[in-house]
Amino acid sequence: MAAPQTPEFASLAVGDVVAEQSFALTRDTLVRYAGASGDFNPIHYRDDVAKAVGLPGVLAHGMLTMGFAVQPVVDWAVDPGRVVDYQVRFTRPVVVDPELGAVVQVVAKVGQLDAEAAVARIDLTVKVGDETVLGKAQVRVELGDRGGR
């Protein structure tokens, strides 16, 4: 199988869906992210603490959701180094049930094309069921020729 290729900028049109993926989170996912990131806020792994501060349950770290939501775009672009700008608003927390976990659906669509810079703005829709959990989630991906890279 040939190595995956970074998409051609010229082949893109606004509105194209470039990637779609769903992510099944469990409490294990949260503990793993806590360790890797160094964010040990107990609302991300302790039901009693989450309850005591008035939350509906243990929540995924916002930065975990931001972290995996961009991965379908990274895979599409092939090289994570092509992501030159990435922003999100945390609009709704992701509650992770101890038994059922949570499923987060990501759809990545071309939102804007800057032909001069060969940068595509990819807009992410990130939902749990019908509810959007990240707002204004935008990834700028540089797709120009980088001389050998």
Binding site: G35, A36, S37, L64, P80, V83, Q87, V88, K136, G148
Partner: protein, 146 residues
């Protein structure tokens, strides 16, 4: 929250050496599957010196600067009331294992929204040569008394 925080700049953090296994650990934790973040051979084939960190890895370094802000005696930020409002990374180049990075925090905005307050802080991350790598911008919402 103290509105006089706007414009305040903090001293650079101690240099952070980006380890290969830390990048791989973080990549697995954000459910990444790209070989360029996991396999040094694949990273070299793509023109990098070592594995390339996922786009949100800078949060690990930014975290040290936000700790400086929350610890500021006159900031008036109650950590237990802080909610992450938004986040952005603006990068000049990706973080690669082997980088020695330093972060400097500046508070760019403080706003009140009724009982709540919002603070925006920018962490500028540079490499051992002093060249810009990535700027991490966080807006924290401090919830007012219930």
């Amino acid at each position: 929250m103290n509105p006089e925080l706007v414009g305040r700049e903090f001293p650079p953090t101690a240099p952070y050496l980006v380890g290969r296994e830390k990048v791989r650990e973080f990549a697995r934790a954000v459910l990444a599957s790209t070989p360029i973040s996991l396999d040094p051979e694949a990273a070299r084939a793509a023109g990098y010196a070592d594995v390339v960190a996922p786009p949100t890895f800078a949060v690990v370094i930014q975290e040290q600067t936000l700790a400086q802000l929350l610890a500021e005696p006159d900031a008036g930020i109650d950590f237990s009331r802080v909610v992450h409002g938004s986040q952005q990374f603006v990068q000049s180049r990706p973080i690669v294992a082997g980088d020695l990075l330093t972060a400097a925090l500046a508070v760019t905005s403080v706003k009140s929204l009724g009982a709540h307050a919002m603070v925006t802080a920018e962490s500028t991350i540079t490499d051992a040569d002093g060249a810009h790598v990535v700027t991490a911008i966080s807006t924290l919402v401090v919830r007012g008394e219930d």
